[in-house]
């Protein structure tokens, strides 16, 4: 605001405080044509640290390509059904079978191990809650188990890492 107020009398008096308009345009052109690297760009554009992120994710393009690749060659999740309907079936498989079914094929692994599958089950009210129990035996060794209340089954869990197997407690 103060600048505008100050500049007005300057303009009226006929000289410029700012750089001439033509010069600034040619400056931007130079940046555009000479913009080879992020570092180079930062040299030309003051304050560009805020606008240009030097840590661009190098995997962004690769994942785009591989997605295209996947849609071209990937087999259906369930032969005879489009994937959306196959997923509508698979989300109804009880949780107790999920880890085992990851072995069916690579696409099943990706589906069952991904967040999408769980979020879909959760949003449709199909997510099953398990109770996780950590216990210590008489030799002070720690092990953990999961209990599936729907099927009344105790589920095995991976063994407790050695570093924690003799821990006195957690938390």
């Amino acid at each position: 605001m103060e600048q505008t107020v100050e500049r007005s009398p300057n303009v009226q008096r006929g000289y410029r405080v700012q750089a001439p308009l033509v010069d600034s345009v040619s400056c931007y052109c130079k940046v555009d044509s000479g913009l080879k690297t992020v570092v180079g760009a930062r040299k030309f554009v003051p304050g560009s640290k805020i606008c240009i992120q030097p840590d661009i994710n190098p995997r962004a393009h690769r994942s785009k390509n591989s997605r295209r690749e996947r849609t071209r060659i990937q087999p259906p999740l369930l032969p005879g059904l489009p994937d959306d309907l196959a997923i509508a079936c698979l989300i109804r498989v009880p949780r107790v079978d999920h880890n085992k079914l990851r072995l069916v094929s690579k696409r099943w692994f990706k589906l069952l191990a991904g967040n999408f599958f769980y979020s879909l089950r959760k949003s449709l009210g199909m997510a099953e809650e398990w109770v996780y129990v950590v216990k210590r035996d008489k030799d002070n060794r720690i092990s953990w188990h999961a209990f599936d209340p729907t099927y009344q089954l105790w589920q095995p869990l991976p063994t407790v890492p050695v570093d924690y197997s003799s821990a006195l407690g957690f938390g």
Binding site: L85, C89, R92, S105, L153
Partner: protein, 163 residues
């Protein structure tokens, strides 16, 4: 329309292989797709269902008639659905999922997809692959690695039996 004539209205459905089926409007409107046609007044003649073959449509109509004959008793409806689907193989079930999706019949869609899921319960990985015709695209090394990573999950009961 039923109110005008005093007798139940019958609709004629045509499968994509040109089979014609007569079905009571009260049963057919379990399909939201057909109900919309009836409400829009365009169900007067033959209703073509281009995505459903005659064999599948016959099954769907059997289901429509069966389930609509049961009064509002969810337990009885469920046991009818279970019995109706009990002897269907995967190919038939997959056709019915496609038909239920096309006809927008949520109760049939839920029942059939749950049945397909139920078939996989407590079965071995090899059985699931064979039953559904899924190619194992793991190399033996990759498969061994995934199995090793998840070996604690393979301690439960699994079976190759059909039941």
């Amino acid at each position: 329309m039923a109110a005008e004539t005093g007798t139940p209205t019958t609709l004629t459905l045509k499968s994509n292989d040109d089979e014609l089926f007569s079905v009571a409007e009260s049963a057919a409107i379990l399909s939201v797709t057909i109900r919309n046609m009836v409400e829009d007044g365009c169900a007067g003649g033959v209703i073509p269902l281009d995505n459903v073959d005659g064999k599948t449509l016959a099954s769907v109509i059997t289901y429509m008639n069966g389930i609509s004959a049961i009064p509002a008793d969810e337990e009885k409806k469920k046991s009818y659905r279970d019995k109706f689907l009990s002897d269907k193989d995967f190919e038939t079930l997959a056709d019915m999922v496609l038909a239920a999706n096309y006809l927008n019949m949520s109760c049939l869609m839920d029942a059939v997809s749950a049945k397909i899921a139920q078939v996989m319960e407590k079965k071995s990985v090899g059985w699931v692959r064979r039953k559904f015709g899924i190619e194992n695209d793991y190399t033996p090394e990759e498969e061994a690695a995934v199995k090793e990573e998840h070996k604690w999950t393979f301690e439960g009961v699994e079976t190759d039996d059909d039941n």
